[in-house]
Amino acid sequence: MAKWGMVIDLDKCSACQACVVACQAENNIPNSNPESAAKGRNIHWLEMIPFIEEEYPNTQMKLVPRPCMHCEHPPCIKVCPVGATQISSEGIVGQINARCIGCRYCTAACPYTVKSFNWFKPQWAKGMERALNPDVTVRYNGVVEKCTFCHHRLQKAKDKARYEGRELGPDDYIPACVQTCPSEAMYFGDLDNPKSKVAILARSRRAFQLLEDLGTHPKVIYLNEGV
């Protein structure tokens, strides 16, 4: 069985944020506005996070695109009282909004702060709702949402592959962020298949994970900058 994972090569990444906007567009994330932004309540499943190191003039800034890590041992699922967030047999940590009661335990438990709570009723200015993706449900206020590795794409891809009587190919399923990444810094695939591009890259000596020592075993693997 596949173990879906992502590799992000920070050396190739140009921090253009195409992935960030692609994610907003694909997943029907409600539009932000100045008021909610001021309260830090805008929703982003994928964010570009700046890490500033050292002081002027030796300043260094690492810019890290941060989706959900889809941990092998996700802290969020342990605290969910209703089983709304669970890890699938293929390693995708899902968030079932219909089941979520909005207690926000998981947002507190996630060390990567990838979970967002819908503080407001998601609203669209009239006319804008036409841009919504029909494959993704629209959430409502009072539930938590997060990156799902665009698993609705996996559902469709699997459905198609099965119907055509073949195995899922490596290009059949990729999330929207990976698809659009202009500098081709993001890779997606099956970490369990030793021959897949992601598995090869994950073995690179540049590879690291965010907060490795917590034992969460993230399936988003970064490749460090530099030689």
């Binding site: 996996l154 559902q155 469709k156 119907y163």
Partner: protein, 164 residues
């Protein structure tokens, strides 16, 4: 006082409206006879529900599909005449859906029908044998039912396999 009166009227209206809906049966625009089509004439389900075998959605046929056979009267039923009325007005028949999964569920007909070979009855009950449109879905679709079957057939029960 006046306000209270308004409130009472409003609440009563709401009650009537929603109880009416809750207790009321779904009325279809045409008294469609599934039995005749599927059992007597032995037509395939997919003849009208055209997506059932090779699409995600089974779909309810458009009037264009009906008119293919019914452009000339084939029976003397007054119900049949309605098809041609709708068609000549250029309108769709306002069928009421009985079966639906919530919109946060991904359900693919072709995966169940074609790939897994599940019979229609499993979810739709004896729909094919009804001579009159039922007022309610003959079988209720619930997550428990999905899961029971998935477990029995050892299909995936991951949340994200179906929920989106």
């Amino acid at each position: 006082m006046r306000q209270n009166l308004f409130k009472t009227i409003f609440f009563t209206l709401v009650c009537i409206f929603f109880i009416g809906e809750g207790a009321g049966a779904t009325e279809q625009p045409i008294q469609y006879n599934h039995y005749k089509h599927t059992q007597e004439l032995e037509l395939e389900c997919s003849m009208c529900h055209q997506g059932v075998k090779d699409k995600v959605r089974a779909t309810i046929p458009s009037v264009e599909v009906c008119i293919e056979c019914h452009s000339e009267p084939v029976t003397d039923s007054p119900e049949e005449e309605k098809i041609r009325e709708f068609y000549s007005k250029g309108e769709e028949i306002p069928w009421q859906r009985l079966f639906r999964v919530p919109e946060h569920v991904f359900f693919s007909h072709r995966r169940h029908v074609t790939v897994a070979g599940i019979e229609c009855e499993n979810c739709h009950g004896d729909m094919a044998k009804r001579t009159k449109p039922p007022s309610k879905a003959p079988m209720k679709i619930s997550m428990n039912k999905c899961l029971a079957c998935h477990r029995k057939l050892q299909a995936k029960t991951d949340c994200v396999s179906c929920h989106r």
